[in-house]
């Protein structure tokens, strides 16, 4: 196997410089990167292990936001008291992802940077108006973060350092439904997350696995009725070995309706 260049930067600045110079791959949890390496899917010559950088794993409330450091693992986020208090939607989604072993090392930042159209954590983040903080300073709204399958708005030399969620989103009523072949570890066939403002006027409907990116169904959000049907017209699923285009479209209708009905019940 060809030799891999390996770096362990000790600061965000050092990491950013190395990434810009080498166009290397970031190693956080490694649950996507090491799989690609094993399957030789990507040409990986340089690995930048960011786990020795201090202070980017913290979860804290600052400046009206809940800030989740990029090295927070899915397990840590799931069991964090602040997350459970302000955004119980996140632990609910994480509990349906991957497996105990993978959740112990995988990160939410890695999940969104890998930018699969099926990225599970993208959906609650879209519904909670999250922001992606890059290199400790620049902020990208999550709605602008995904640019294509496996592609993000990051430039070379940019590292996601945290994900921030505005505390006002903790008042949203939320729901999430995910369809897969088995409970754990598989990639969703279709997934829907919905959030609604407390006055039941502002909707956010996020769809997964049915478009090149995790998307918001903005027409469905504004529709006065039949939101679930409108959502199905806004997505563009494909046929693949997991499911057909037709089935995914039907399931978006079902899952969206399920989410909306659940929120209606929550409001009574």
């Amino acid at each position: 196997m060809k030799k891999i260049e390996y770096f362990e930067p000790r600061s965000i600045e050092e990491a950013a410089q190395i990434l810009a110079d080498t166009r290397g791959f970031v190693l956080a949890g490694g649950t996507d990167l090491l799989v690609r390496m094993r399957r030789r899917l990507w040409d990986i010559r340089t690995i930048v292990n960011i786990k020795k950088i201090p202070a980017i794993a913290e979860i804290a409330v600052t400046d009206g936001h809940l800030s989740i450091g990029c090295l927070s693992t899915l397990s840590q986020i799931q069991s964090d008291a602040l997350v459970q208090k302000h955004f119980p939607l996140l632990p609910r989604v994480i509990a349906q992802m991957a497996s105990w072993q993978v959740r112990n090392i995988a990160t939410m930042a890695g999940n969104i940077c890998n930018a699969s159209p099926a990225a599970d954590t993208a959906l609650p983040l879209l519904c909670l108006d999250a922001e992606v903080v890059v290199n400790g300073s620049r902020s990208i709204p999550i709605a602008n973060f995904f640019t294509g399958p496996g592609k993000t708005a990051l430039s070379p030399g940019e590292l996601v350092t945290s994900i921030r969620i505005p505390l006002k989103a903790s008042a949203y009523k939320t729901s999430f439904h995910r369809l897969g072949i088995r409970q754990g570890l598989d990639i969703a066939i279709a997934a829907v997350c919905v959030s609604v403002s407390p006055d039941l006027k502002e909707f956010r409907i996020a769809l997964g696995s049915v478009a090149p990116i995790p998307m918001r169904a903005t027409r469905a959000e504004k529709a006065s009725s039949g939101k679930h049907e409108v959502a199905a017209t806004e997505c563009s699923p494909i046929d693949d070995f997991r499911a057909s285009k037709w089935y995914r479209t039907e399931m978006i209708k079902v899952l969206t309706k399920r989410c909306l009905d659940e929120i209606q019940l929550q409001s009574k």
């Binding site: 362990e8 490694g30 090491l34 094993r38 397990s75 497996s99 105990w100 072993q101 993978v102 112990n104």
Partner: protein, 147 residues
């Protein structure tokens, strides 16, 4: 590069590439062949070991990330009181056939507390032989007296 960590309570010093997989170091350098490679991609649970008390897929962990930490494999677990009970219960329940998945399941059972849901805790572990029922029953039994 040199790495220092503990495996099954023993201090280990190894010289290898930073990106060497933990599973390869455990199996090939340390002879701990109870750690099994099923899928190489973190999806089957056969390679599950504990690092600082947490279950991880050893096929997706590089040795640089284990430096200074404590690793436990099924060989070490089977020497503990809790581990002996787990193995005995597995055998008594017929939860072992070919044995390939067993170290992964034993590692998870060892790491579980009585508040952990059994099915959720092992949803990342596949078994091709038993049909799962006996494994889940054995773990259920063990977790009743876990702390």
């Amino acid at each position: 590069m040199r790495f220092n960590f503990k495996v099954n309570d023993e201090k280990i010093e190894i010289d290898c590439e930073q990106t060497a997989r933990l599973i390869d170091v455990l199996r090939n350098r340390l002879g701990l062949v109870g750690v099994h490679e099923g899928c190489s991609t973190g999806e089957c649970g056969a390679c599950t070991v504990l690092v600082n008390g947490k279950v991880v897929p050893s096929c997706l962990v590089i040795i640089a990330d284990v430096d200074g930490k404590e690793v436990m494999t099924v060989e070490g677990i089977a020497r503990t009181e809790k581990g002996k009970e787990i193995v005995k219960t597995f055998a008594a329940h017929g939860a072992i056939q070919c044995g390939f998945c067993t170290p992964g399941y034993v590692s998870c059972a060892y790491a579980m507390t009585k508040d952990d849901d059994v099915v959720k805790s092992v949803e990342g572990n596949l078994c091709r032989c038993t049909g799962y029922k006996k494994i889940l029953e054995a773990i259920e039994k063990v977790s009743k007296w876990n702390t």
